[in-house]
Each structure stands twice: as C-alpha cells, then as structure tokens.
C-alpha cells in the first residue's frame, strides 16, 4: 500500500481566492521510499509538505494517505492519522523557555494521555530515549539545557531529534539543513535516512542543496511554480535539468513567505 497517492491535486492558500500554490500534482510514494523535494524558493515545497502532513486541505483532486482519503474521514479519525505523519518544519517549533528534554519528548504526545503529559512536564518520562536521540545529532550534552540557550543549528537538530522519537510511519522534513554547516549536514541526512530505513518509514525531505539531494536520495521530485517539473530517479537527473529548474530564480529579497509550514495562516488578518 502506498503511503501517498496524489492525483491532479490543486492546493490554494487558506483565506482568499488567490492563484493556486500547487497545481496538477501527481505523485505516488510507496511505503519506505526516500525522496528529496527540490526547487527554487516559492515553488511550493513547504505547501506540499503541509498538505502531506494533513495540515493543509487541498481544494481539488484526489488525495490518499495510507489508502484512505483523510479529508473524507471524520475529524477524530483524521487527527489519529496525523499521528502517523511527522512534520518537522524548517523553523524548529520549540518554545524558548522549554527544556530540550521536554521538547524532544513532545514527539510522544499523541500516544500519551493528558495525565502522562503533565507528569512528564514535572519529571521527564524517558530521558534516556531523549538523550539517545540527541546524541545521534551530537547534542547529548544539551539534554537538560533550555531551548533559548541553543544556537540556531542546535535548535534545528533538536527539532530533528524529536522526529527520531516519534513512532510515525511517514517523516516529512522541511529544509533540515538551513542552519547547519557541511559536516553536520552530512551527519543529519545520514541519520535521517538510517532512521527511516530502520523502521521502514517513508522519508520526504525538501532541500535547497541540490548536490546533497542527489548524493543521498534515490528519487528526486522537482517543483517549479507550483507544478512538478520532473519526478525521476537520480541517475536520470541531468545538470541541464537542474539549470533549467533554477533558471531565472528571483532574488531572495522578493521571495514569498514560504519558509514555514504554518505560514499559510499569515495571509489572514491585519499586520503591522
């Protein structure tokens, strides 16, 4: 059974009749597959990941996750399905006053009762597991630090350590390397892929670094202007295709708010 089946999918930003953020998306992803999502800024990578994590409802087309249409399910069933999909947003979702151990253990909240969650706030339930997850990203010594004492790159890896503790069957990772140096980038991608392979989870990772995408992922899906430009095994991806994909990319100054899975909410209401 495929993890995802998308057919002629159109996704619009919430609130407003704007142009679609994603159009005519056709994608089948098998369980245990590992693929990289590439494309220029504003191509729709984050929106696609938000759609796949069921935090954004597509407006047209058919969308199946684990063989069912989540938006046809009842609300409770859909929310249970969300626990099978883990989204790691590009900006690590860690409150500054929280301790690292709490932030990492939050991965288990869907499985915990409210009482267990409360007790774990007082005395962390499984610090050993949190420490192991952090150690795989060289962060073991930060177990009991507060999040606001971490550097940007450490926070990003802390967010990914949370992913290791989640029992989800599909791992959706948005730009995991944006704050990391090349050595840590290698370590991070290797760890993510090992983890996904070890538990036969599907791994979908959006990346700006094309060389890393090509060297780590067997399947490459390229997005441009909200459409799939190509969807090929990496052997068939040529430098010309990459050049065409990023051709005429807008300077970063004018790029839309696309670096955050929840940014779709920004369009609503007044701003300062």
């Amino acid at each position: 059974m495929p993890t995802y089946q998308l057919q002629d999918l159109t996704v619009r930003h919430l609130g407003g009749r704007s142009a679609p953020a994603l159009q005519a998306i056709k994608l089948t992803i098998e369980q245990g597959e590992q693929l990289a999502l590439i494309g220029p800024s504003g191509a729709g990578k984050t929106t696609l990941l938000a759609t796949l994590s069921l935090s954004h409802k597509p407006s047209e087309g058919s969308f199946n996750a684990f063989g069912a249409d989540p938006w046809a399910l009842g609300e409770a069933a859909r929310h249970r399905l969300r626990a099978q999909l883990f989204l790691a947003p590009q900006t690590p979702p860690l409150p500054p006053r929280q301790r690292v151990v709490t932030a990492v253990l939050a991965a288990r909240l869907p499985q915990w009762s409210v009482w267990r969650a409360l007790v774990s706030l007082f005395k962390p339930e499984d610090p050993q597991a949190a420490w192991q997850a952090l150690s795989r990203f060289n962060l073991g010594d930060k177990l009991y630090s507060r999040v606001d004492r971490l550097s940007g790159g450490e926070r990003q890896r802390c967010g990914l350590a949370r992913l290791l503790l989640s029992p989800a069957k599909a791992l959706l990772v948005d730009e995991p390397l944006s704050a990391l140096d090349p050595a840590l980038s290698e370590l991070t991608l290797t760890t993510l892929r090992e983890e996904a392979r070890a538990r036969n989870a599907t791994l979908i990772c959006s990346l700006h670094q094309v060389e890393l995408a090509l060297s780590h992922f067997p399947r490459i899906v390229a997005l441009r202007d909200g459409r799939i430009a190509f969807d090929l095994p990496r052997e068939q991806v040529t430098p010309e295709m990459i050049a065409a994909l990023y051709q005429g990319e807008q300077p970063p100054a004018s790029k839309p708010h696309d670096d955050d899975a929840m940014a779709v909410k920004l369009g609503v209401g007044a701003c300062l």
Binding site: R82, P89, R97, D260
Partner: protein, 280 residues
C-alpha cells in the same frame, strides 16, 4: 499700508468675537439650572467649619494610628482581605482555565488545514464568550451587594463577587494572551497529532508563561483593591473597617489602613518581578 491706516476699526475687530461671546453666555444660561439642581456649591468646601474639619482630619493623617489594639485589628483585617482576594482569585481560576481552553481558537483541531471551525465548535466558543461577557460586565461591587443581600454580611459575599467577575476577566485575557503568542510550537504539535491539552501544555504555555503569570499577579493586586471597595458595602475585610473609620472621621486610622494598601500593592509588584525573572 494706506488701506490699513484708512480703516483701523476693520482690522481690530475680530469677526469671530461676537459669536464666541454669544456661545459662552448661552452655555452659562443652560448650565446654571443644572448647577442649581445638583446643588453644586463648591464654596461650602471653604467655609470655616468645613476647613476646620478637613484640617483636623488631614492633621490626623500625619501620625497613623498605632496603638496595640488597633494594630492587632489591622493585622487581622489585612489577613482577612488577603484571604478574600486570594480565595476569590483561586475560585475564579477554577472557572477561567477551562473557559480559556474552550474559547482559545489557536488550539482548534477542526480549523487545522481548513482554516474553518466546525459549526458546533464555533457555537460552543461563542456561548462561553457571551457567558464571560455577562460575568465581567456586572461590576464586582454589584455582585457583592447582591450576595450581601442573599447570604448576609461577611467575607463570603466578597469572595463570590471576586470569583464571578474575575472568572470573566481572566478567561478572556488568558485566551487573548495565548492567541497572540507565537503559535508555531502548538500548531506543529497539533499537526503531528497531539491533543488540544497536550499542545497547550507543551506548546502554548511555555511560550506565554511569563505574560500569563504577570497578568495573574496583577489581577491579585486588583482583587485586593476590589475587596477593600466591597468592604464598604459590608463584604468584610479591611474595607469594612475603613468605612467605619471614615464615618468617624478618624484620620489616623484611615492613614494606617492606606499605608497597608500601599504595602500590599508593593508586595504584589515585587512578587511579580521575582517570578518574571525566574521565568525569563
């Protein structure tokens, strides 16, 4: 130049002047009867007898009352006031926290992905909102008067009055603090399948803890002031004693009591500061 010297009267007379004088006279004519009706006689303040009474009252202020018996009563009533404010606020919290959870729109699971809440969820939220509007639109003094009529004089009326009004205030402001803090953490937790309460505990609360805390301590301070005002209508505590002292024109006692209020507010302020530093 020649034109101006030729007609000096035209330059000197302000065309708006007549109109302004007319408006002032009209206003006086209209306002005079209202002053008569309301018996507004400010000169009474300055007749000899009043001046003497005010002078005595104020002179008493300089040396606050400090005899042992009075001080014992003061400590007892201060403790009473603090107890009224604290238990009122605690009761208010018991109601306000669940209400906050209900009306907080950031933690809506049905809005996740669609931006639209279920009609039932929307209706429940709106109902609770209206309930809290009713609770806090009736001033605590009015609640206190009501409860004094129902259950008689004493601190219970004050506690209940504070609990009802503050439940409405705290619930509304907590929900707004939570909604205006950064939603990224709680949104991500919800998107990954956590429940509402878990997302609140692990996402929204650590984000807003310090604001929530300082608002609660500030409300405790307000509850102390409120319980004093309610004491005037017989709801116990320091206010009731102050009412008696004021009626007896005993400046020394009023002065001591005011000093206690200042001390209590300063204490609340310090407490809030320490807590904020610990959380910051």
């Amino acid at each position: 130049m020649t034109a101006m010297t030729a007609t000096p009267s035209a330059v000197q007379r302000d065309p708006a002047l007549r109109r302004r004088i007319f408006i002032i006279i009209t206003a006086l004519v209209i306002l005079w009867p209202t002053m008569v009706v309301s018996e507004f006689k400010p000169w009474i303040l300055f007749d000899e007898q009043s001046l003497a009474a005010t002078g005595r009252f104020l002179a008493d202020f300089l040396v606050p009352a400090h005899d042992t018996e009075f001080l014992q009563m003061l400590v007892r009533e201060t403790w009473n006031t603090v107890a009224i404010a604290t238990s009122g606020l605690t009761l208010a919290l018991l109601g306000a926290i669940p209400c906050t959870l209900i009306i907080n729109e950031q933690l809506s699971i049905s809005a996740l992905g669609t931006g639209r809440m279920r009609p039932v969820a929307l209706a429940v939220r709106q109902t609770v909102r209206w309930l809290m509007v009713i609770l806090r639109s009736v001033p605590e003094l009015v609640w206190a008067l009501l409860f004094v009529r129902i259950i008689g004089l004493g601190p219970t009326a004050g506690v209940l009055a504070i609990a009802l009004t503050y439940c409405g205030m705290l619930g509304k402001v907590y929900a707004e603090i939570l909604e205006s803090s950064d939603a990224h953490a709680s949104d991500t937790l919800l998107a990954n399948g956590s429940g509402r309460l878990a997302a609140l505990l692990y996402g929204a609360l650590p984000e807003a803890a310090s604001e929530l805390m300082s608002y609660t301590v500030y409300r405790w301070e307000c509850a102390i002031r409120g319980s004093v005002v309610m004491g005037f209508v017989g709801a116990g505590g320091l206010g009731q004693r102050m009412d008696e002292s004021l009626k007896a024109m005993n400046g020394a006692e009023v002065s001591s009591m005011l000093l206690v209020f200042v001390a209590l507010v300063a204490l609340a302020d310090q407490f809030s500061k320490v807590l904020r530093r610990r959380l910051g």
